[in-house]
């Protein structure tokens, strides 16, 4: 896990308190009460930071309020409106396939509303398990997770997105986790997410063990060039093999763009050179 003064948490995250205003963590949980405990930590910490906090989960609103009871900051927040509960059952009919653009817009509006109301930003702890039960739901939600992360990198919106192992298997979880800068599992191996100012970040390790997942993530995230350059902040990249680099190059070729890969890992430059990838420019990350 890395943390600079103004940086977001990336890589393995093993707790939900102490996270910043832009952090976005994918949390795989097994025990029924685990999400509730992690959410209480995350949201109470958010209130202490002056954020408006939302607890989003399946179940009746009254039960969700009960989940938060017993933590002084949360009890106070529920009374003042600084803390809210949102029932997934009430918000999303069973089987809802999220529309990524609309979903991002909704949370962006909520964040801006929180700021307008005097909060330092918005923080959400959400059990998203019911929203990824089918392949269509999963694909759409993975696209949404990537898209919302770009917003979170720039604006004060932080979230823990939780998925239960009882319904979301490791393969599905990995598809979601790789779209987050932080996760409580090594499962995806890499992360492809927002880096602020429309940049895409690539971190971790991409190799034949997760190349299909990388291909899927690249297709779903669909990073777009600006002024002919597809800039990838790969400061957190520890390894990329030739297949994945060629895939990234091909994606850029399809868009008529040049990849600018900013990384400190010396293998990337060697690979780009020996593969004659003329549309991949490797720059040393600051």
């Amino acid at each position: 896990m890395t943390k600079a003064a103004d940086a977001r948490r990336s890589g393995l995250v093993d707790r939900t308190f102490g996270l910043g205003e832009h952090d976005h963590v994918c949390w795989q949980y097994t025990a029924p009460g685990e999400f509730r405990e992690r959410a209480r930590d995350f949201l109470a910490d958010g209130l202490a930071r002056g954020l408006q906090v939302w607890y989003v989960a399946p179940g009746a609103a009254a039960d969700l309020v009960e989940d938060l009871h017993g933590v002084e900051e949360l009890d106070t927040g529920l009374r003042t409106g600084a803390a809210r509960v949102v029932s997934l059952d009430a918000t999303y009919p069973v089987g809802t396939v999220v529309e990524p653009v609309a979903q991002v817009r909704a949370y962006a509006e909520a964040t801006e509303a929180a700021l307008a109301a005097g909060f330092a930003g918005l923080r959400v702890a959400a059990d998203c398990t019911p929203l990824v039960r089918t392949p269509r739901q999963l694909a759409a939600f993975a696209r949404y997770e990537h898209r919302i992360d770009h917003y979170m990198a720039d604006r004060p919106f932080s979230a823990v997105c939780a998925y239960s192992t009882t319904e979301v298997d490791d393969a599905a979880y990995a598809q979601l986790a790789c779209m987050h800068p932080g996760a409580n599992s090594h499962l995806p191996g890499f992360r492809l997410h927002g880096a602020g100012r429309h940049l895409t970040a690539l971190g971790g390790e991409v190799d034949p063990g997760n190349e299909e997942l990388f291909a899927l993530a690249l297709e779903r995230s669909d990073p777009r060039p600006h002024d002919g350059l597809l800039v990838v902040d790969a400061n957190g990249l520890d390894f990329i093999d030739h297949r994945a680099l060629m895939r990234l190059s091909a994606h850029a070729t399809d868009l008529g763009a040049t990849v600018v890969l900013r990384t400190r890992w010396p293998g990337a430059a060697a690979l780009a050179h020996l593969l004659d990838l003329t549309n991949v420019r490797v720059e040393r990350a600051a």
């Binding site: 190799d207 034949p208 063990g209 390894f239 297949r243 060697a270 020996l274």
Partner: protein, 314 residues
Amino acid sequence: MTTTDVPAPGDFVHPAVFYGSDEEYLALLVPFITDGLAQGHPVAAAVPGARLRLLRGALGAAADEVLLLDMEVEGRNPGRIIPGVLRRFADAHPHSHVRIVGEPIWAGRTRTEYPACAQHEALINHAFAGRDVTIACPYDTTALAEHVLSDALVTHPLVWGATRRFGSDHYAPGTVVERYNLPVTPTADTRGLSVTTTAEVRDARRFATAEAHRHGLPAERTANLALITTELVTNSLRHTDAGCRLTLWRDADHLVCTVEDTGRLTDPLAGRHPVGSDRQGGRGLLVVNHLADLVRTHTGPHGTTVHAFVRFAP
């Protein structure tokens, strides 16, 4: 690999150039280069550094028209000479006869390197069969061992000497490929790991990286080792059913990544097909050849072992 799968050369001309002095070197090679230039042929020379300086001096202004490469750098690993030097240059000039001076064997080559050098010379015939290319390979008859010169007669159909040119009666490159298909014995200080699934490729790479740190391999070379390990292990997992055994060991100036599996290498040019070729896949071993300082391969009916050597010094 077998002795019978090397096609007869077509327009390809591949002489061993035997020289016994600097004067003979220049007398044989300068006209080869300048005649080529006069005919409008693209010309390259990839020779050891000292020879490069000698040639450059003798060529004078004509040197500017020749691609001059230091073979001790470009061809340190003989396995990358065909894709990275010879085919790279020849393929860039598909519509013209191309002349190349390629000197991959010099007196400083070690006993560990030599088998790969000899196999490389043999495989040139396979890689360029039918191509409108001339590759002249100088051999220093005063500095190289007798068996090296004997091998040159087997790997080259032609011999150019100071006084005469003749066809080699010993030309049979496949026999050299087989003769030097030799095992390499790791030192006692080895550490190993079995790998059976692609999910374990990451573990294999981390194991290799940890060994690199333990032995003090510099960061850039450690990145190369990580790539090499990933490619060799992946190659084994994709072409065999029984997984592979990864071993890291130190051999004097090198850290060696050895990957052993039950597969048999059937393409003698595996890892030597250039990036730009139309072949799908197969880039893993090419990456290994480019990044390693030496690759030795031993293949047989019971399996294949690839040893990739990475030097501690740049």
